[in-house]
Symmetry: C2
Subunit: 219 residues, 2 copies
């Protein structure tokens, strides 16, 4: 909030010093208050305390700023997922459970990033950096699925890519429908985390991961 500013919020000099960062922060704040469509270039500039022409030194247009926000969001997301997975410690299944919670946790804790990443309507072909960052995040999930799959007997291993896409879809659906912090959330009689954990358990059961071996739960 105070790059290159004095104690009263005034800028110290003619140059902002960190306008790029300030614009990203402004965009996040505006997105979280008014939705992914609810911020404008001019308003972001105002928030950052610069003239409406200043952002053009850093971004071609609004979408380009949005893409930068989405990029950073995916980077943070990938880091959060990787940290939760923690290379599968202490056990792959415990780590996998944490991974799912991290997905939901990110959606709840960073709704503005989440919006920019998934709901801003950015054309991924126009912003390959966003696509790359998204791929990196997905790679964490896929890697963890590969580890999990490798704990099964070789003749009963499902494709890790498919499994990763299933879990991603499940977590994403739950996050989108029930895990938001805003008014669009739908009410259900359990937490998103509980819902995801139950679904994942059933799904893994179906793949042949069971307590002590393959087969349906008998409890």
């Amino acid at each position: 909030m105070s790059w290159n500013r004095d104690d009263h919020g005034r800028r110290r000099g003619y140059h902002h010093g960190n306008l790029r960062e300030a614009l990203i922060h402004a965009a996040l704040e505006l997105i979280s208050h008014k939705g992914p469509a609810g911020f404008t270039f001019a308003e972001a500039a105002r928030h950052a305390g610069v003239s409406p022409a200043a952002p053009y030194r850093h971004y071609r247009d609004r979408d380009s700023l949005m893409a930068d926000v989405a990029c950073r969001g995916f980077e943070r997301f990938a880091a959060a997922l990787a940290s939760a997975w923690d290379e599968g410690r202490p056990t792959p299944s415990a780590a996998f459970d944490r991974l799912g919670r991290a997905y939901l946790g990110f959606a709840r804790a960073e709704p503005a990033y989440f919006s920019a990443m998934f709901e801003s309507g950015l054309d991924l072909k126009s912003f390959p950096a966003v696509q790359d960052a998204a791929d990196s995040a997905f790679a964490v999930l896929r890697g963890s699925c590969e580890v999990l799959v490798s704990t099964l007997p070789p003749d009963r291993r499902p494709p890790a890519l498919m499994m990763a896409l299933h879990i991603w879809s499940l977590a994403h659906g739950i996050a989108s429908l029930f895990g938001r912090g805003d008014a669009a959330r739908r009410a259900i009689p359990m937490t998103p985390e509980e819902l995801l954990e139950a679904a994942t358990l059933v799904y893994l059961q179906g793949l042949g991961f069971g307590a002590g071996g393959p087969g349906p739960a008998q409890s």
Copy 2:
């Protein structure tokens, strides 16, 4: 396109005759071309061929029109799901598979309705009619889960509500991430339908629905 209009697209009289419908159609067209945030009241009026003040006779504001679109979307959605389910004929599992395809099919065939329903950021508390319509659509899915669950032995029946929420989340996640007709779609090496069908099979397996009985697939 031609309510109350002659062959040249001119209105027949002073009154439009069906402005409400025309505004909804205009909103859908604008949403499908420019995203859920990409339509304005004025533009919808222009599309419908009336003055910018005319929509105020029918809708309080833009959100109120959007809510009407979302409502109709959920009604069509519920009808599409009910039709696919067809009361579980010929078998609950075949009907359930059709239900999942119908979810994805709706997202692909009606991206504008889908956007208005799930991505418009409407506050559901402010528009209870939308919430009710959404609940009706979900009720179809829940009802089908209840039928499916009832085919299991009584001591091994999962909660139908939980199952319905899981399948909804899964289908919704797949539709959101991979099943869109627009540029925000992510590329995967299979169709959304294949992905959903595979996930559902695994999930049902995990719940104890198996080919010829409970237990993991052995093939």
